[in-house]
């Protein structure tokens, strides 16, 4: 069997045709219809191009041209899992849930792999992620095989859950499209720390889609540490819906990968819902990372806060696009967004497009953006105190990132992030030395 691997949208559509009867849940009519619709949407849209406003700064041609295969996942022995942050842990290898590697005993809520749970997910799967106009969600819906299903019952404090994604395929380029469904019922709480990694040299596509429901008064902290292999692609899309009095707290660290898109759509559907979206993009030579947020204020009295920081070293390119929509019903909205970029290299590029679209008058909305290099005066100050140049630079970069990291409302998640940031900087310093 050495059929040519087809690339582009055709490659994925071809794969869907070949796999459709064997995909999990193929016998569920509702799911078959959902996949069919997604395939049609993907066929019509194809991969987005830079002519589309939402993709103005990110060119997906490297993904479209690559051509991907089914992950085979040969080795389990000696599989290096990243360190956990809590006791509960759900492990995915090449996008597939691995119960035997996971630790999920004794937690007070329901966690399972998606493939096994599919019969009970009619109406829930696809409730928030719609293939129309969202080619990556269409691709995911068409081809997902597994994912995580989490339901935290009303009033339960779920503690911390690690979501680990490891890629193993080093020989052939593999693609996997996990679909994660997370639901917090009224008054529940949970912290998820997601870590995505892969072996050096691996060239794979990780295309996860999250559908997140936060019910009345519930609180979800969702920290995503994207540390994929240097040649990997991650195209992640998060859809979150937050009901009255609920809070969704997303932090995304983009440190790995060659071409990365982190797209978050949050809708505040009930009064006094809150959303914090923070993130850091730490980029080195050859990396392109894009954070695109869309925040939909669809109810009155909601507050949203966003802080995104990008540090660019080497020949890297960072993108931030953030749109805040305030609908007419969303009176007394309080929205704030800040994105800042720090350039460490003359070859780096940053593109930023914050955006406000406001149809309610009793609102307080603002955004800010800054771009610059390390402040020479600050550097000088530290040097005069006897701090070596490299150390001084690292202090200033860390200080630059602090604001984004401090926005995370969970001490455990915060320290995990801090560690990841420090790790990235050390690697950069090594590379420079």
């Amino acid at each position: 069997m050495n059929a040519m691997v087809q690339s582009g949208a055709e490659g994925f559509l071809h794969r869907f045709e070949g796999l459709r009867a064997r995909l999990p849940g193929a016998r569920l009519p509702w799911l078959a219809a959902l996949r069919e619709g997604a395939a049609e949407a993907f066929r019509v849209q194809g991969f987005p191009t830079r002519r589309q406003e939402a993709w103005k700064y990110t060119d997906l041609r490297p993904v479209a041209e690559a051509g991907f295969d089914e992950p085979l996942t040969m080795l389990d022995e000696g599989l290096a899992l990243p360190p956990g942050h809590g006791t509960a842990r759900a492990v995915f290898v090449d996008g597939r849930f691995r119960a035997e590697l996971s630790t999920l005993e004794g937690i007070g809520f329901a966690v399972s792999g998606l493939a096994a749970a599919l019969p009970g997910l009619e109406g829930r799967l696809g409730a928030l992620a719609h293939p129309q106009g969202q080619p990556l969600a269409a691709l995911n819906t068409m081809l997902f095989e597994d994912g995580l299903v989490v339901t935290v019952p009303a009033g339960i404090a779920g503690g911390m859950l690690d979501l680990v994604s490891v890629a193993t395929e080093t020989e052939r380029p593999a693609a996997f499209h996990p679909r994660h469904l997370i639901r917090l019922e009224a008054g529940a709480s949970l912290t998820i720390i997601e870590t995505a990694t892969g072996p050096e040299g691996a060239r794979y596509l990780h295309n996860p889609v999250f559908e997140i429901e936060v019910a009345e008064g519930a609180t979800l902290v969702h920290a995503r540490l994207q540390q994929e292999a240097p040649r990997a692609f991650q195209l992640a899309t998060v859809y979150a819906s937050v009901a009255a009095g609920g809070t969704y707290d997303n932090f995304t660290l983009n440190a790995g990968g060659r071409l990365v898109r982190n797209e978050i759509h949050t809708t505040l559907t009930g009064p006094k819902a809150a959303c914090h979206m923070n993130g850091a993009q730490l980029l080195g030579a050859g990396q392109h990372a894009d954070t695109t947020t869309f925040l939909d204020h669809a109810a009155p009295d909601c507050a949203s806060r966003q802080t995104y920081k990008t540090v660019l070293a080497g020949k890297s390119r960072g993108v931030f696009q953030g749109k805040i929509l305030v609908r007419q019903v969303a009176q007394r909205t309080d929205g704030y967004q800040m994105n800042q970029a720090l350039l460490l290299s003359p070859e780096a590029e940053i593109d930023s497009k914050p955006q406000l679209e406001i149809y309610a008058d009793d609102v307080k909305c603002s955004h800010g953006a800054t771009v610059g290099e390390l402040d020479a005066e600050q550097l000088f100050y530290l040097r005069t105190r006897g701090i070596p140049e490299a150390r001084a630079r690292s202090m200033l970069v860390e200080a630059f990132l602090t604001e984004a990291v401090e926005g995370v409302n969970d001490a455990g998640a915060r320290s995990a992030l801090q560690a990841a940031v420090t790790g990235w900087w050390e690697k950069q310093a090594e590379a420079a030395a």
Partner: protein, 496 residues
């Protein structure tokens, strides 16, 4: 006066009286046949007695335009425009030979608009016959463009003494062909965008300004645009060249009659600033905005761009946009020269059903180039107001600097305010700062003014003027006064 009558009067003054410039002048006009094709382009060129190269230039633009599509990315909506259902050339029949021969009907029109076309009055030190008769310290040279042609230009001789050329562009084509040929289309090429291509094919008049080396223009130059005829579009073209070390301040104003139809205004303005030159370009845009239901009004789709070609050159755009049913306008600066400076100060108001999508582009190419953007958007009624801007820093623009501030004010819960800035930086030593806010008029500010005995409308007017102060202070004095009044008038009827 009984309360009912008073209410009726107020409503009338708001819906009709508010646009004081809505009258129409009956004057004998010369039209080209309706529609747009190569023959019309040839007709216009012939009418203007243009040289062959300019006709070729127009035809090339027309060929490009035919292949182009109308831009649809702006946050505005309007029914499709039938480009064949308009006159592309309309001019008063008897062209004046000199100022003294200007049709008295035209003079009366401009008098009514408060635009002085009589030099004598200025020279004699008498203030013009306009309301209030406010004295002015400085004369202003005026080029008056009526539909498709320039009808009068004042102070030409005085300016000529300093070597300044200020004349209709059709005259410049005859008298200064080399200058026109050298610069026309050098900032906004024919195929730049759909409307620029259309303008390049059918432009009829507009102003031409050349300020020689080292000359500081002794007076404000201004062009006053008036659309009068029915079913016409106005396609003026303005070209300003400030040679090394020169300085000029240029003002632009415009009005149109009230009509139920939409009329198209697709202008192109090109500015060129050479070494150490400064151009200050101020606009008070007061085209007819349509009525409260959104019937009629001007579609203002214009391309304005400046090139700061020389080192230390500076271009400053100031605009007060109160009129037009739809505004699509992005006065921009290409900062080529090292240490060149671009500025953009804007107030845009949308009331009733007006839509505005406006902003600027600052393209930093030279070293140590700086740009400042201050934009104030005010939405009332069912108006939609969008700031759309680009700041791009090229790798070579070391130590470039940009500061942008966009503030939006919402009056009423049926309007919208949007901000869409693009920031693209490829230079490590550049520094870019952008901030945007959206809010409504604070209750405590209103309460404070009301408790001092101000009416609701006066209070809003005062607060809005305060909100726009940073921009208004950039306007030449006479214009600032006019602009302040205009802001208040534009917002009439927007507050309960």
């Amino acid at each position: 006066m009984p309360a009912v009558t008073e209410t009726i009067d107020t409503v009338q003054s708001v819906t009709e009286g508010a646009y004081k410039w809505g009258f129409q002048t009956d004057i004998e006009m010369d039209f080209a046949p309706k529609g747009l094709n190569e023959d019309i382009v040839r007709f216009i060129s012939k009418k203007k007695n243009e040289p062959e190269w300019l006709l070729e230039w127009r035809l090339k633009a027309f060929a490009l335009w035919k292949k182009m599509e109308e831009p649809r990315w702006a946050a505005v909506s309007y029914p499709p425009i039938d480009y064949q259902d308009a006159y592309y050339y309309a001019a008063p029949k008897e062209g004046p030979k000199s100022l003294d021969e200007v049709d008295p009907e035209l003079l009366r029109t401009y008098e009514k608009l408060g635009i002085p076309l009589k030099e004598q009055a200025w020279l004699a030190g008498v203030s013009p016959q306009q309301e209030g008769g406010e004295g002015r310290s400085m004369p202003i040279a005026v080029d008056a463009v009526f539909d498709s042609v320039s009808v009068a230009t004042t102070f030409k001789e005085r300016l000529a003494k300093d070597g300044i050329i200020f004349c209709p562009i059709s005259e410049a084509v005859q008298d200064h062909p080399d200058l026109v040929r050298q610069y026309l289309g050098s900032v906004v090429p024919q195929g730049d965008n759909f409307y620029a291509a259309l303008n390049s094919a059918v432009f009829t008049d507009g102003s031409f300004v050349y300020i020689p080396k080292g000359v500081r223009c002794p007076m404000e130059l201004s062009t006053y645009f008036r659309i009068n005829a029915k079913s016409t579009g106005q396609f003026e073209r303005t070209l300003i060249i400030a040679d090394a070390g020169s300085h000029v301040s240029y003002l632009e104003g415009c009005t149109a009659p009230m009509r139920d139809e939409n009329q198209l205004h697709a202008a192109v303005v090109e500015l060129v600033a050479l070494d150490d030159a400064t151009i200050k370009y101020s606009t008070v845009q007061n085209w007819y905005p349509g009525d409260a239901e959104g019937r009629g009004g001007i579609y203002n789709f214009v391309t304005k761009r400046a090139q700061c070609r020389g080192a230390r050159s500076k271009v400053s755009w100031t605009q007060v946009e109160t009129g037009s049913a739809i505004t699509w306008k992005y006065p921009s600066c290409i900062l080529l020269g090292d240490d060149s400076v671009g500025e953009f100060y804007s107030v845009a108001i949308t009331n009733n059903r007006q839509q505005a999508d406006t902003g600027t582009k600052m393209i930093h190419l030279g070293k140590r180039t700086t740009s400042t953007i201050v934009s104030k958007g005010i939405s009332a009624g069912r108006g939609q107001n969008t700031y759309r801007g680009l700041v791009r820093i090229a790798p070579a623009a070391s130590a470039a600097r940009n500061f942008t501030q966009c503030d939006s004010l919402l009056i009423g819960d049926q309007c919208g305010a949007h901000t869409v800035p693009y920031i693209e930086n490829r230079c490590i030593s550049a520094k870019v700062e952008h901030e945007a806010t959206t809010s409504r008029i604070a209750e405590d500010q209103l309460f404070y003014c009301r408790s001092r005995g101000l009416t609701q409308e006066d209070a809003v007017g005062l607060i809005v003027n305060g909100f726009c102060r940073e921009v208004l202070k950039e306007l030449p004095m006479e214009f600032a006064v006019e602009a302040q009044k205009l802001l208040q008038i534009s917002l009439e009827g927007s507050v309960g």
